[in-house]
Symmetry: C3
C-alpha cells in the first residue's frame, strides 16, 4: 500500500519535471516511469534479480501510466512545493530505502552494499530523471533537508537492526528515514559543503 502511494508520488514528480521541460506526452510518460521504477530496477540489476520485479508488476505500471497522464492533464493545478507532495515523497523515499536494504541483505551484501541498495532504491529514479532532463542530479548538491543521506541512514538502520531483530528492521529503517528527513528540515540541518578550494 505504501509502495503504491510512493510509486505514484514519484511518477507525479517525474511527470512534473517533464512538463516544466516542455517534453511531449511521450517524454512525460518516460520521465514518470523512470522516476517511479528506475531506482528499484537498478537495485534489482545489482542484486541479480532479473528481470527487475517492478518491470513485471503490471498493476503498478498501469498506476504509473495513469498518474503520468493525470499529472499532465492537471499540470496547471499541481503545486510541486505542496506539503502533501512532500509528505508522500518522504514516505516513498523511506519505504523504498527500507525495501531496497532488505533486498540487499537477502543478496548477502555487506553493510556498504546494503546501504547502496537501499539508497539507490530511494533516489536512483530521481537521478535518472535528472540526467535525462539535462540537470545535475539534485541529490548531490541540493540543500534544504537531508534527502539521499536520509535514505542511506535508513538503509543502514535496516542493516544493523536486522542483526538484532529482523522483524522490526523494516519498520525501524522506514521511521529513521522519515525522522532524519523531517527532522533536518525542521531543524535546518545540512551537510557541510566544502569551503576553500581544490
Amino acid at each position: 500500500m505504501l509502495v503504491w502511494a510512493g510509486t505514484a508520488t514519484f511518477a507525479a514528480t517525474g511527470a512534473l519535471v517533464a512538463v516544466r521541460k516542455r517534453f511531449d506526452l511521450f517524454g512525460v510518460l518516460v520521465l514518470a516511469a523512470v522516476t517511479a521504477v528506475g531506482g528499484g530496477a537498478i537495485r534489482d540489476v545489482v542484486v541479480g534479480r532479473l528481470p527487475p520485479s517492478n518491470l513485471t508488476n503490471e498493476g503498478l505500471l498501469w498506476l504509473v501510466a495513469a498518474t503520468a497522464v493525470l499529472t499532465y492533464l492537471l499540470r496547471s493545478r499541481l503545486d510541486p512545493e505542496s506539503d502533501l507532495l512532500y509528505a508522500f515523497d518522504t514516505i516513498g523515499l523511506a519505504v523504498f530505502a527500507a525495501l531496497g536494504a532488505e533486498r540487499g541483505l537477502g543478496a548477502d551484501l555487506g553493510m556498504w552494499g546494503t546501504v547502496f541498495a537501499g539508497a539507490i532504491s530511494g533516489v536512483g529514479g530521481g537521478i535518472i530523471r535528472d540526467l535525462l532532463s539535462g540537470e545535475v542530479p539534485g541529490i548531490l548538491y541540493r540543500s534544504g533537508d537531508l534527502y539521499a543521506s536520509a535514505a542511506a541512514i535508513g538503509a543502514a538502520t535496516v542493516y544493523w537492526s536486522a542483526a538484532i531483530d529482523p522483524s522490526i528492521a523494516m519498520l525501524a529503517g522506514t521511521l529513521v528515514t522519515v525522522g532524519v528527513r523531517v527532522g533536518s528540515r525542521v531543524l535546518g540541518l545540512q551537510l557541510p559543503v566544502p569551503r576553500g578550494t581544490a
Copy 2:
C-alpha cells in the same frame, strides 16, 4: 540482414554526432558503438540474458568499428539529413523494437515490460549517445515525427499480436513502427506538448 543494416546505420549516426562534437577517433568509435549496441545491451541486462548477445557477436562489432572509421573518413560527404539515412534508421528502429519485444515476451514480461524492452532496444543506444555528448536525449522532446513512440507502439503490437498468432508478431510489429514513423512525418502528426505551466 535487416539487423546488420540497422546496426551499421545506428553506428553511423553515433559517429556523426561524435564528429560534430569534435571528439577524437576513440570518441567516434565509442559513440558509434554505444549507439549501435547500447539499446540491445540494456534490454539484455533487463531480461537477465548476460553477457548481452550483441557484445559476443564479433562479426557485428567489426561492422560497427568499420562503419565508425568509414564515417569518420567520409564525414564531409555524409548528410545526416539524407533520405537514405532516414530510411535505414527507420528500418533499424522498427526491427530492433520488434526483436526487443520478442525478447521481453520470452522473459515473461507483461505488456508494459514488453513495450519497455522493445522501445529501449530501438532508442536506448541513442539515449546513451546523447547523454555522453552532453545533450538532453532528443527522443524526449524532438518534434518532426514520432520516433520513440513509434517503437513503443510497434513493441505493443508484437505483444498483442503474439496472443493471436506468434508467427506474424514480428512482422506486424516491424510494419507498425515503420508505418507510425513515416505516417506521422507525412501527416505532420506530433504528440501534444504541455502548454500552461507546472
Copy 3:
C-alpha cells in the same frame, strides 16, 4: 595491493571533482564511490557476475569512504595535477583494464567484448562521475595523453597474449596500458580529431 592503491586514487579523484563542484559531504562520498567502483560494477553486470564483486568487498568500500572523507578534509592541500596522483591514476587504470579484460575472457567474450570489459573497468567510473557532475565525459575529447584508448589497447593485449601464454597476459596488458599512456604524454601523441564538418 595495486587494486587497493588504484581504488583509493580513483576515489580521491572523484572526491576532488565533487569538492570543486561544491557538492555536500554526501555528494563527495557518492562521487568518490562511483568513480572507484562504478567501472568494475558495470563490467560485472555485463559479464553476469551479480552482485558485482566490488560491492561485496567491505574492506575496499571502507577504504573508499575513508579516502573520500580524507580528501574532503585535505582538499585545499591536494593538487589534482600532481605527478604522484598521475602515477597512481595510471597504475589504477592499467590494473583495472587488465583485470576487466581477464573477467571478459572468463565470460567467453570475444575480442571486442574483452576490450569493452577492460576499458569500461578502467574508465567507467570516471564516465559516471562526469555525467553526475554535469560534464561531457572527458575521455571522449580530452587531449594531453591517451587514456581510455590506453586502457583499450591494454585490454586487447590481455586478449591476444592469453592465446599465447595466459600466465603473462595480465602483466603484459598492465605494462602496455602504462606504456601507452606515459609514452603518449612524453611524445605528445594524440588521436586525430576531425577537421572539416559533418
